[in-house]
Symmetry: C2
Subunit: 192 residues, 2 copies
DNA sequence: TCATATTCTAAGCGTACGCTTAGAATAAAA
DNA sequence: TTTTATTCTAAGCGTACGCTTAGAATATGA
């Protein structure tokens, strides 16, 4: 009986993610969203309830995005220190790429909204739980592969590398490529 | 001839800084500002021109604030690695203190506004230029004091520790004290 | 004491915000 | 073909935004 939508939910969500990424939550108006998503306000509210819920969905979409475009090699079953090294170094040098100038959507959101909204704070925490467990797995593999010492405290190292990644997200806005590279190189060298 | 102000510019600016620190730029309305600063909108605009200019002044006030409350030991003429160590470790453990839950105003601003406003972006860059030169001086002293190897590349190390500090500012919102401590401990251990 | 430059109060300007709604359009089921 | 559930368009709701202004209040210099 029903009439069909003329747009794809997942596709317009990705557009929403991008404009939130560029402008932040408060900095993105519903008028900007309807222009960027290519649908009008009625459809936005019909499909995503309200602006905040759309933003939370955009945060989840962002996780899919970075998994696909950044973390994939690190999520391979046998990913080890070589993959971590490659990931960090390329994150540092690709700062001139289109993605990195915007920083990280999650870090930006943590800065802008932080703990003020519990639903969004939860989303942020879940994101970092995911990253942390990804790093842990990689470090476990690295020990198996003899890339790092057997007695490495991988829990502590996971905190360290997570902190470094968060640092990169800020530094990508304030440092040049060579400084970023120095930062990452030293972070990587400490473990060997 | 003129009538005098009933408030102190510097004092109300500090109040403004605090509410911007808590709520961010967009998240702080002029109505909130007049309530917190204890003066009405006319006085705000008379003394600070407009909201953005007030915010820029608040950013500068923030620098004074952290110099006084955080960086002072690091700015002593003979400050070395011991001071850096102490600073980072206390930044990691005092996360339950009143200041650290809010993160760093400059990092929050970089996330929220970033490069969108050139005037604010300039202020952010000047802040980090200042921090970087402070770290550089400390590392120079550390070599003199034989706290770190003579052949240490202090420029690279400055980028590293600046990155770590930016990481802490984000991590202070997403990690617990023990994880933060692990992060900082490893960052410090790499240089020795 | 009085004139004057400045500050204060409080009201309100125009605009943009997030969100809703009435009614026309449309695609599937009967 | 008709019915019906849903989507679409476009207009506009109430509210909060950043900012301004007219006029009363007030502290100084003459």
């Amino acid at each position: 009986m029903p009439r069909n939508k003329t747009y794809d939910n997942d596709l317009v969500l990705e557009k929403a993610m991008n404009i939130f990424w560029i402008n932040g939550y408060e900095g993105t108006s519903v008028r900007m969203l309807e222009k960027e998503m290519g649908i009008n306000q009625f459809s936005i509210y019909a499909s995503f309830k309200n602006k905040k819920n759309l933003f939370i969905n955009a945060l989840r979409k962002y996780r899919e995005h970075v998994i696909k475009n950044r973390f994939q090699p690190l999520l391979q079953e046998e990913a080890g220190f070589a993959q971590l090294e490659n990931f960090l170094l390329s994150a540092a040098t690709s700062k001139n790429g289109k993605d990195e100038k915007k920083g990280c959507l999650v870090v930006n959101t943590a800065g802008e909204i932080g703990e003020h909204d519990p639903d969004i704070a939860l989303e942020i925490n879940q994101y970092y739980d995911f990253i942390r467990s990804m790093i842990l797995k990689v470090l476990q593999n690295a020990i198996k592969k003899d890339e790092i010492p057997t007695n490495t405290d991988i829990e502590k190292q996971a905190s360290f590398f997570l902190g470094v990644m968060q640092g990169i997200s800020v530094a990508s806005k304030t440092m040049n490529s060579s400084q970023l590279n120095d930062f990452v190189s030293i972070a990587l060298a400490q473990i060997e």
